[in-house]
């Protein structure tokens, strides 16, 4: 199971004030707060951790087909590799571990998580308004199915699924947008 998330740093600055009292405590574990506080780029780390948590939450929700919840501080992020604007790490939630990859391009953070690290994935960055058509196009190519028969519908827990005509497909995927950029990920 996989999940992804996109955070545009300029838009996040307009929409949220992460320095607001108690904001960090609601979202981050003690260890994450310490790392943010001692970071030379705290704002970037706030949204990097946030996007990792969101991506792991989506993967976990799809895994359990659970109803939506909101408790980001239960997801703990750890960054193992950091090279320029590329990050690999892990997000733990209850007994599960999700493997994360994040990159920062054009002031935008793109993160995705996988439950099973060996799963091959297809991740693509697109313009926000083309997100749905692009993911359907890529999925149809990956699976060799005609594009016009594929649709996306959400189930009772708001988790999106591909449909081939009226048949629900089990393929794991995730999509996210923020500002003008969007990204999707498909398990291939």
């Amino acid at each position: 199971m996989i999940g992804n998330d996109v955070v545009n740093l300029s838009l996040a600055k307009q929409e949220s004030n992460w320095q607001r009292p108690r904001f960090l405590q609601k979202i981050f574990t003690k260890r994450e707060q310490q790392q943010i506080n001692k970071s030379s780029e705290p704002e970037k780390l706030v949204w990097l951790f946030w996007s990792m948590k969101e991506a792991a939450y989506k993967a976990s929700q799809r895994l359990q087909n659970s109803s939506p919840t909101f408790n980001p501080s239960q997801f703990e992020c750890k960054i193992d590799v950091e090279k320029h604007n590329f990050f690999r790490g892990k997000v733990s939630y209850k007994n599960e571990t999700f493997f994360s990859t994040s990159l920062i391009i054009e002031n935008t953070i793109f993160s995705y998580c996988k439950k099973n690290n060996s799963v091959e994935i297809f991740h693509k960055i697109v313009e926000a308004e083309k997100l749905k058509s692009e993911i359907i196009k890529s999925f149809s190519r990956l699976k060799n199915l005609p594009e016009e028969n594929i649709s996306i519908q959400k189930n009772e827990n708001q988790i999106p699924y591909f449909f081939y005509e009226k048949e629900m497909l089990s393929n794991s995927f995730s999509l996210s947008h923020h500002g003008k950029f969007a990204a999707f990920i498909i398990a291939s």
Partner: protein, 84 residues
């Protein structure tokens, strides 16, 4: 504070974060913050902090977990007010 007053102050609190204005027209206990009002998930934190300030209560992270609709929020507020 009665139910109606609580729901009205929730409506006032969420208004600045709502991205789907139509969702405010039919504002009931069933209204969901993310799905119906399209509040982004980071702003859900602001909603919770604003609720804490407005009612002078503390919502721990576990209570926050289920706070996804107006009705959920109302119940948590009533519970925390009763504990005061």
């Amino acid at each position: 504070m009665n139910e109606k007053e609580i729901i009205n102050s929730i409506k006032k609190i969420v208004k600045p974060y709502v991205q789907r204005e139509e969702g405010l027209q039919n504002f009931t206990e069933e209204t969901r913050f993310i799905n119906d009002l399209e509040i982004n998930s980071a702003n859900l934190v602001d909603v919770i902090l604003d609720v804490e300030d407005e009612f002078d209560i503390e919502i721990d992270n576990d209570s926050m977990e289920g706070m996804l609709s107006v009705g959920d929020a109302k119940q948590i507020i009533e519970k925390k007010l009763a504990e005061k």
